[in-house]
Amino acid sequence: MNPKIKFLAEQFPCREKELEQLESLFSENSQILPESVFIYGQPATGKTSVTCEYLKTTGFQLVHISCIECYTSRLLLDQILGSLVPSESPVKCDNFMDLVHQLKVARGQGFFKERSHVLVLDGVEHLLNLSDVVIQFFAKLQELTSIYSLSVVFISRVIPEKFNVSPTVVVHFPQYSKDDLAKIFKIFKPSDINDELYSTYISSALTVFLRTTRDVMEMKNLILKNVDKYVEPVIRGDSAPSDVLLLWRLVTPHLRASLNSAYLGITLEDEPSTVGNDPELITHKRLKAFDLPYYAKYFLIASYLASYNSPKHDRRLFMKNHGKQRKQAKKEKAKSKVSELLGPKAFSLDRLLAIFYAIMEEKASLTVNLMSQIASLVELRLLAKMGDGNIDNPKFKCLAGFDCVAAVADTLGFNVRKYLLD
């Protein structure tokens, strides 16, 4: 193996196979490159970094384009041309044929002779929004421009079958296994911790984290954040470094806690001085509760009731003299369970207003402000407006869950369960 590759393999553990594949495709100093290579795999499996590092170390001229930011073809083409053919004047490239033409002109000037160029299109699935043929075009770029020292590498999370292209070679970057991850995280070992302790920590941390995330970068952050907690008992002398079980028991709560916040993506600081402006700490409960204007609360409850009760029960639920309840309890029970699982049903504005007035004790006249409450609930994603264009009888759906509605109802002293059929 080439010493350069060996160095890379050390840098990226568990990617030897992929590196070998790349080496066979892009061997050093080769003038004729494969037309296109398709690399795919899960996020954070090292697709981009391995490929780019490899191409850089082996001396290829690398052009890396992140496709997600190319929301117009103009942006894409300008960037490609600008970095393939550097020039003084600002580049202008209107369409694909123009790109081919300008590349041909550049070839005539001897641009691609000395070094081989590789165009890396990262996140190529985003290009599908532009037009269907973009990817076909790049797959055939060598043929169109007849520059054989120019190759295109597609990097994607999506399997190649989803695209209408037949690239020359497909390289798959598989998901890291637990052992692979353990190997990777050894690289990030802080210098002041001994090897054995660190490796036991890694294995116990991975068992906790692996269930929720496989994203290497995220896991790295989590692992490095909690390593001190693991080492702490050893330093204080509470536990021997070899007592894995005790250490495991001590560190798990910390790991779980940081996992929770990681899932939400929010770091809740421990020091009270930095948290918010309120004297009281922002607890989880506080973060979950939110305040709505009085009528908006009732609207939310009414919409929940309208979504989860069938209209035929409205009379029984909301009218004072609703007559006797028929005994169909068994059948109904089975049905209502199903309806719970089916999720919210759409309801009309009329029904919402009727339920609203039925559950409200005081009278509120139907003013513009009252109607705007519904609109603001829709804005807050607590209600969803169904369909469009139906002005005279719009339909809505309640998106809030039971817990949220029950919490809101609690602040009003209103019992939601009483009005739910289950």
């Binding site: 929010i266 003013t367 409450q373 009888n393």
Partner: protein, 694 residues
């Protein structure tokens, strides 16, 4: 039209000359010359300043936290620092919060660019990026208002140029222009000092999830080069973030949550510091005040709307009151000069006020009565005297109110409410000391321990001392001090005040068991002896609750000339919280109500006159029909009404009338009252007010 210098014939485009000052051209009415408007403007401008201060004070801590977070954040390679501000539900008020943040970041030199994005501007990724970058690259000197200068900015910054590569060039330029002394140390140390690019998303929940996650991923791609910081304004809960964004985007953010003060807190602050003070030239009547707070609590939580509502009422108050009001309803210091300015007409105006008249009638002195009604100079003096008295009374009122608030605000169950505003609403609308809640408060206060009572009384005295005006309520202060000493000295030894009656005396035969029980209870009470402390407490409470408060907390709406300073509820209810259906119905059913023309006046609601607008006639006719309307019948009755004669068949109808009818119907359709029906040919379906919902 300008002539051209060209010799050839052809079309020439004349670019429209840009109007220099839009605002002047736009203002339809100029009130500046009118007296009432000047008075209003003086008062309101002063108010705006105070409101601004209060608002700044309320969000000060949040601002400090945010700016320190933004300036200190050190970005790592993969994650964008992001601040999630839990702003609470109302969105209109948040505009000022974010624009304050923006100007602060600019002023303190933390950010080189701040972009405020609203979801309505950011439908696609392209829109979002372009808007964001054009905001970032605009110079901070531009006006803050993002609505007006939209067009002007477009001229020097083309949409297509707003791309991230251009932005990174711009930032490089910016950094190279500012000479940095330690250019060699291009390490993290310098990076953290680098000026940030702050992107504020005002209404996070309404953003399109796909757009937003793509936007975040694009930004994170540039994170190594450009120091982006995101700020989210979240109205509901933090969980909204993971509902909107996929995990792949969230993992690119390092979020931190901040909590803004709830808007109720903001409202209380505003009220206590700006409106509910004796220094405020105008006072809100109890009913009006209650109405506005209810709108706030029940509908929108928007302090901004609250202030706008009050502003409307103040303006209306000045407009209706005319010159005398605008002169007299002013800060106390100006009062004397203003009274001298009163003209004869103004004094006549004041004489017609209800409270002034009853004041005149109540004066015993006949001579004085006549003088008050005829002698202007004498009346002026009297007005000045009355106004000063009124101001004094308002001051006393607020002082007493704050005393009362102090002692009842912490009682269990809050019989009179926790907030000063709740007390104010009650005290303004009726005599608070006769209410049941007040009595309950007194009862609860009777259970206070010595320490609590002493503490409360001491702080009451402090309030009185701090009120600044030493002459105000001096006697009460003295009295309180005496009572306090009595309470402090009182021991807990038992003393009985009234000589005990012999229980034997009223031992009458009891007839039933309940009667017996009642008697026993009565006897128990009578026997209970009181300690000296209890007696002193009783004295103190009796004085405070039964003498001081009723004497001082009289609503000043009974004083003469109260109309000058108090805003009363007029039409405000319908202006501030408009109804939906009623105005449209009135306009169409009775056009004279709004048009104020003689020709359309009707006595009966069902009456239809040919002089009414066609739309009204068509509307009134359609009210008479069921859920489906036959077009031919409708046209017939329209024709009869307009032309006054019955048409035999279709050809008989004048084409002009038919055209008018068609126009009216299409207008009705446009307004959403009818729509064409598929059920029956030549019929339209009625959509509102009793029409079925088919």
């Amino acid at each position: 039209m300008d002539s051209t210098v060209s010799v050839s014939r052809g079309c020439f485009a004349f670019p429209a000359t840009v109007k220099g000052k839009k605002a002047k051209a736009n203002s339809p009415l100029n009130f500046d010359s009118e007296g009432w408007y000047r008075g209003f403007k003086d008062v309101w401008d002063n108010n705006i300043k105070q409101l601004d201060n209060v608002e700044g004070g309320v969000i000060e801590t949040l601002m400090q936290d945010l700016t320190s977070y933004i300036s200190s954040s050190t970005e790592n390679d993969t994650q964008i620092p992001a601040a999630a501000i839990l702003t609470g539900i109302n969105l209109p008020d948040h505009g000022s919060l974010f624009s304050r943040l923006k100007s602060r970041l600019h002023n303190e030199g933390i950010a080189s660019g701040v972009a405020i994005l609203r979801s309505t501007d950011c439908i696609t990724v392209k829109n979002t990026v372009e808007r964001c970058i054009s905001h970032l690259m605009e110079s901070p000197l531009d006006s803050e208002d993002e609505f007006d200068e939209e067009e002007e900015r477009q001229i020097d910054l083309k949409r297509s140029q707003c791309t991230l590569p251009n932005l990174s060039k711009w930032v490089e330029n910016l950094n190279s222009r500012s000479p940095s002394p330690s250019k060699k140390k291009k390490t993290n140390l310098q990076r953290s000092n680098q000026k940030k690019l702050v992107v504020i998303l005002r209404d996070f929940e309404t953003f399109n999830p796909n757009t937003l996650s793509a936007f975040i991923q694009i930004l994170s791609g540039y994170q190594p080069k450009l120091p982006f910081i995101l700020v989210f304004g979240i109205a509901t809960t933090l969980s909204a973030i993971d509902e909107v964004l996929p995990h792949s985007s969230i993992s690119r953010l390092s979020l931190k949550a901040f909590q803004a003060q709830p808007s109720v807190y903001f409202l209380n602050n505003t009220l206590n510091k700006v409106f509910l003070t004796p220094d405020c030239p105008f006072q809100l009547s109890g009913k009006l005040f209650k109405f506005f707070t209810q709108v706030f609590l029940f509908y929108d939580f928007s302090v901004n709307r609250f202030i706008q509502g009050v502003k409307y009422c103040v303006m209306e108050h000045y407009r209706v009151g005319g010159t005398p009001t605008s002169l007299l309803c002013c800060p106390e210091a100006l009062l004397k000069g203003r009274v001298d300015q009163l003209a004869h007409d103004d004094i006549e105006h004041i004489r017609r006020l209800g409270s002034f008249r009853s004041y005149v009638e109540s004066t015993k002195d006949k001579q004085k009565q006549i003088k008050l009604l005829s002698d202007d100079t004498f009346t002026k003096k009297e007005i000045l005297k009355l106004m000063t008295e009124l101001r004094l009374r308002i001051k006393e009122f607020y002082l007493a109110l704050s005393l009362l608030h102090h002692i009842v605000a912490q009682l269990p169950q809050y019989p009179l409410g926790k907030q000063l505003r709740e007390l104010y609403a009650v005290a303004m609308s009726k005599d608070i000391w006769v209410t049941a809640e007040y009595k309950e408060c007194k009862q609860l206060l009777g259970f206070l321990s010595k320490d609590e009572l002493v503490e409360k009384t001491k702080s009451m005295i402090d309030i009185l001392v701090e009120s600044g005006d030493s002459s105000l309520m001096k006697d009460e202060e003295k009295q309180l001090k005496n009572l306090l000493i009595a309470v402090e000295d009182a021991g807990v030894s038992k003393v009985t005040r009234s000589p005990m009656k012999s229980p034997m005396k009223n031992l009458t035969p009891v007839k039933s068991r309940s009667e017996l029980r009642q008697k026993v209870v009565e006897l128990g009470i009578g026997k209970k002896s009181k300690t000296a402390y209890e007696l002193a407490r009783e004295d103190l409470l009796n004085y405070v609750m039964d003498e001081m408060v009723p004497a001082k907390l009289r609503s000043f709406t009974q004083a003469p000339l109260w109309e000058i300073v108090t805003l009363v509820e007029s039409e405000a209810r319908y202006r501030v919280v408009p109804r939906i259906r009623a105005p449209i119905h009135t306009a169409l059913n009775n056009p004279a109500h709004y048009l104020m023309c003689e020709c359309c006046k009707i006595v009966d609601d069902d009456e239809i006159l040919p002089s009414m607008p066609d739309l009204c006639i068509a509307y009134k006719l359609h009210l008479e029909s069921g859920s489906l309307i036959n077009m031919y019948d409708w046209l017939q009755s329209f024709n009869v009404l307009v032309s006054g004669k019955q048409a035999e068949d279709e050809e008989d109808i004048d084409l002009k009338i038919q055209a008018r009818f068609t126009q009216a119907v299409s207008e009705m359709e446009f307004l959403g009252f009818v729509k064409s029906s598929k059920k029956k040919a030549d019929h339209v379906a009625r959509l509102t007010w009793g029409g079925s919902t088919t």
